[in-house]
Each structure stands twice: as structure tokens, then as C-alpha cells.
Subunit: 321 residues, 2 copies
């Protein structure tokens, strides 16, 4: 199987020694590297009853690229390790690999190595190595008064998962809107171009990708930066599919759904005009949803009249089953 | 738990952004990086009935460092991802981390990130990033007539595992020799110094670390280099513990036991004198065990009289349970 993958994998740019030796040898693009890793486990992070192997291959790379995007970086190389259950034969794994490869090619990321083993459940362990565009954007640079922005739309992935589960139970065919949300759940777009633009132009004071839900991930920025945050519920960017299937009153998925893999970032007020011009270049909407405040690192959510909403947000915790 | 690990982890040399952001940012030591990864799964690669969490932490890093050693490289940074079963609490994981950290400190490797998740079985996924000393030593450079060498002694780990299993079944206390072999199984020494010396002095034409057993890993060199190999059974380096507990007639563990994590390398005949001087600097014995031959990439094993031994060597296959 490794031999098949090795043959199918083009020797990417900068790869001196690729798959098949004790370690890969790659050319560094800059004086510094960015490194990130994610471990995905069947039954915890994905369910093969409603996730195809091809989508899983795509997504397992996408979530790592999203972390590189959140630093404003460029992704270069990827290591893929698989724990493979006996019931999945090499043809099925080839389907996984096709989804993985499609995104790798799209983002010019070279697969350089990894490990394959037998396992009871499917395990996907991915490590991506990249480089910062200029200075990496950390979580800790936000200041009181900074604006808060998100790319794209929120809650689609969580709502998509909910519908996938319901369809699995009840059967039936999915509407076009539902299929849009399924796609958002299965094939999130890593916002590499936007992240790099923000970093290069030094526009983001703090940045994170939304994997655990808006409120929880904004909380990470707040704690790292020592700021509070206020979010305006009526400004949350909701997709047409979300509006059609969930309405605009139910914003729980948008606030805490998780797995959006959109970028959440803070920026100085004086840069508003420059940030408003970014979507044309980045190819994705950017919405200002609130501002950083002085004080405790809490996230307050306000309704249209400015009243604080009491919404119980659980966020996404992998240790809850 | 991540917070605890973050606090306990010294910010290593070259680490610009360590644990706790979307990605780590590290300084590159050279124009090229070496990257290697291993995925270890409970019940496949280790058994917690006879492996302590501390030893597992040590070993999960050691096997990756051994891959860097086999390229003649220097290890710099490590990413550690864990899938943790509910039955293991954070204190138990702290014990794992202590073993891991001990070797990381000894080898000046900085833990810079990773991922933790819930899982049914313990999963350890490690990715090490390093740099080549000079040119990486690949598997494919051996030529007919080259000598074949190994560091240290062979078969100790496999024999140690056999004794551990037996002791688990039958009980009783272990002899000093047995305890030596247990140690060799649980805490293999990555041969980083030797690998780097061989690379720097351009002495090795091909190199691999022995993880699947001497014969199987020599087969990898043979296929990559397009050479055959002849091994002299009576030259295999056996430890006093191996000789005491297994005798010198039973060389199956030495030939195919697996998990030795010694270096196996080829070198030109004219460098014999230089290689003989290395052990004094590398701190480990180096034994010439055979030579590369022209022809099919097969490994022949000869007895003291030069007769070919027919030994059925299965090697180590993770897909066999």
C-alpha cells in the first residue's frame, strides 16, 4: 500500500527525499517553520456511516491546513499516518487517499511520509509543516477596542452534521440546501489565502481558526490576549442554506457548532477600510461581528437592541462522548 | 492536561512559538529538514500489561529518533499526539510524559505541539523534525563489495519481549540478564551520535535502523540499492544476556526479532580502518557482519563453514496480529 501511495504521489516542490526512506528530507522555504498536527479517530471525530472515505481524506488534511491558515502561514509538506481496520481493504484506503490528494494538489502541499498500521478503528494522524508568510499571527495580540471578524459563514458544518444524522435515522433525500451544508461539513475550505493576506499586511492582531465553535475559540483569543469580547448576534454571517433550514433566530449552531474552520481574527479599528477591501482578493466574505473589551476574558453576546443574551454555549469537547 | 504539559515543557532552543497556538513556529537549523513519524497503537505495538507508561513515553520518542539517526541527522523538534482511553487519568498520562521528556531532554529535542483526544485504546502519534548533518544517508547507495555493519547487539529486544510475556504468564522474578533484555526492549537507545558521525565522515553508503529485524531491514537496503547481501551467522553481535539466556546457536531473534533500533549500514571496504576507530567516539560497538553482492536483492546467511543456512525468517509485520 505504501508502495502504491509512493508511486501515485508526485515528488512535490522542495522534496529531496520523499516517501520510502527512514525520514523525508525537504527544503526549507524560510528561516522558520510552522508545524501543526491533528489526530482523528473513528467514532470520535468522524463516523463512516455518513462520512465517505474520500471526504474524510479531504477533511483530515483541511483541518491541519486551517491551523496553518490561522497563523497566516503557507503549507508546504504533510505527513500522513493511518491506523487501518481489517475491514477496510486497500481499495477503500485508495479512496481516502484520493480525497486527501485532491486538496494536497489544490494547496500545493507535498505528501512526504508517514506510517501505516493495523488498528481496530480507523485512525488518521496528520502533521503539516509550512512556513510563516512574514511574522506568524498568534492568539495573544488582541487589544481592547480591536474589532472582531470572521471569514465565510458560521454554523453550516454543525447544522450539516445534525441533518446528516437525522437523514441517517429517518431516510429520505436531501434538499439542495441540506446538500450544501453536508458539503460544508465534509469539505471545509482552509482559508489559507485570507490568512496569508492578513499576515502579510499585518492586519490581524490575533487569529485562530474556528474548530470548537465561535464562542469557545474566541474565548481562547480572549484568555491568550487578556481581553474580553462582545459579539452582536444579529451580525453573525449565516449562509442562505442555514437561514432556510434553521432560520435566523436559532443561532446556537453559529455560536457553538464547531468545525466551521473559518478564521476568527481581531484587528485595529483604524484598519477597517483596508479589511473591507480584502474579500475581493481573498475570495471569501469577511464580517465584523463585534469588538474586544477591557476586563475579564469573557465573551458577551448582545441582541439587536444591545441586550445581553444568555445563551448556554457548551462548545465542542472531544472528551465528552 | 495540555496546559500542564505546556507549563512543564521548557521552551527549547529555536522554539519561537511552542505549545498552545494553532501551530508551532520553530527556527530551522539548516536549509533542509528531516521529517519522520510513527503511529503506535495499544494492543498492536505495545501492551500495557508488561509495558509501563513511562517506558512507553520513552520508547515512542526513541523509535522516531532512531529514524533520524538512520539518515545521519540531528533531531530538533517533536510533535506528540495522544488518543487517551477514559480509564487512564491525567496522572497516568503524566507518567507517560515523564518517560518521553527524559529522552527529549537527553537528546535536546523540543516538544512543540500536538493534539490530545479521547480514544478507546491508547494511541501515540509522534512526528520528529530534524536536520541532516551534511547529506542524508539514504537506503539506496550500497554497492556490490561494500561491507555491512551493525551497531550494538541484535535480538535483545525480541528476546526481552518473549521473556516479558513468559513472566506475565508464569510469574516469578527476573534474573539480571532478563532485566537487561527488558530494558533493551523498553528503552532502546537511538544511535544519533553514530549516525551523525557516519554521515559527517561520509562513511556509510546506505543506512537504515533495524525496526523489523536484521534480515527484513537489510532486504530494504538491498531492494533500494539493487544489491544482494551475505551475512555471516557467527559474526552477529550477541549480548552477554542473549548468550546466557538463548545460547549462540539460536540466532532467530538476532536475525528477525525486530525492534533492535540499532543502525545497519554499508560502507566501502577501503574505509574499514576508519570505521574500526568509530566505536571509541560513538560509544557503541560496531560489528562487520557481511558484505553486499552483485545480483538479486536477497539476503543469504552463511554458517562458520560458509554453508548457506536455511532459516525461515518472518520479520515483523504489523498487519499480522
Amino acid at each position: 500500500m505504501i508502495e502504491t501511495i509512493r508511486r501515485r504521489t508526485p515528488k512535490g516542490r522542495g522534496v529531496r527525499i520523499g516517501i520510502g526512506d527512514d525520514a523525508a528530507s525537504v527544503t526549507n522555504r524560510r528561516a522558520a517553520s510552522l508545524i501543526t498536527a491533528d489526530l482523528l479517530i473513528e467514532g470520535r471525530h468522524f463516523d463512516l456511516r455518513w462520512t465517505s472515505l474520500s471526504d474524510l481524506g479531504y477533511k483530515s488534511l483541511a483541518v491541519n491546513l486551517s491551523d496553518i491558515a490561522a497563523m497566516g502561514g503557507v503549507a508546504d509538506y504533510v505527513i500522513l499516518s493511518l491506523g487501518i481496520p481489517r475491514r477496510l481493504d486497500s481499495k477503500v484506503i485508495a479512496v481516502f487517499y484520493r480525497g486527501f490528494e485532491a486538496l494536497a494538489r489544490e494547496c500545493s502541499v507535498a505528501l512526504v511520509g508517514g506510517d501505516t498500521n493495523a488498528a481496530a478503528k480507523l485512525i488518521v494522524s496528520v502533521c503539516v509543516i509550512g512556513h510563516p508568510s512574514t511574522k506568524p499571527v498568534e492568539r495573544r495580540g488582541a487589544k481592547p477596542g480591536d474589532d472582531i471578524y470572521v471569514t465565510g459563514t458560521l454554523g453550516d458544518s454543525a447544522l450539516g452534521l445534525k441533518l446528516l444524522r437525522r437523514q441517517k435515522r429517518a431516510g429520505g433525500t436531501a434538499s439542495a440546501h441540506a446538500r450544501t451544508l453536508f458539503m460544508r461539513h465534509h469539505r471545509p475550505t482552509p482559508r489559507l489565502a485570507t490568512g496569508a493576506l492578513l499576515a502579510k499586511n499585518e492586519l490581524a492582531t490575533a487569529m485562530i481558526d474556528i474548530s470548537d465553535g465561535l464562542v469557545q475559540d474566541l474565548g481562547h483569543i480572549c484568555r491568550a490576549s487578556g481581553v474580553g469580547a462582545t459579539i452582536h448576534a444579529d451580525r453573525l454571517p449565516l449562509s442562505p442554506a442555514y437561514r432556510a433550514l434553521c432560520g435566523t433566530d436559532d443561532i446556537v449552531s453559529a455560536l457553538s457548532g464547531g468545525e466551521d474552520y473559518e478564521l476568527l481574527f481581531c484587528a485595529q479599528r483604524r484598519n477597517r477600510a483596508r479589511i473591507e477591501k480584502l474579500p475581493a482578493r481573498a475570495g471569501v466574505t469577511i464580517t465584523r461581528i463585534g469588538a474586544c473589551t477591557a476586563g475579564d476574558p469573557n465573551v458577551a453576546i448582545l441582541d439587536a437592541s444591545g441586550k445581553s443574551l444568555r445563551i448556554r454555549v457548551s462548545g465542542h469537547d472531544h472528551f465528552k462522548s
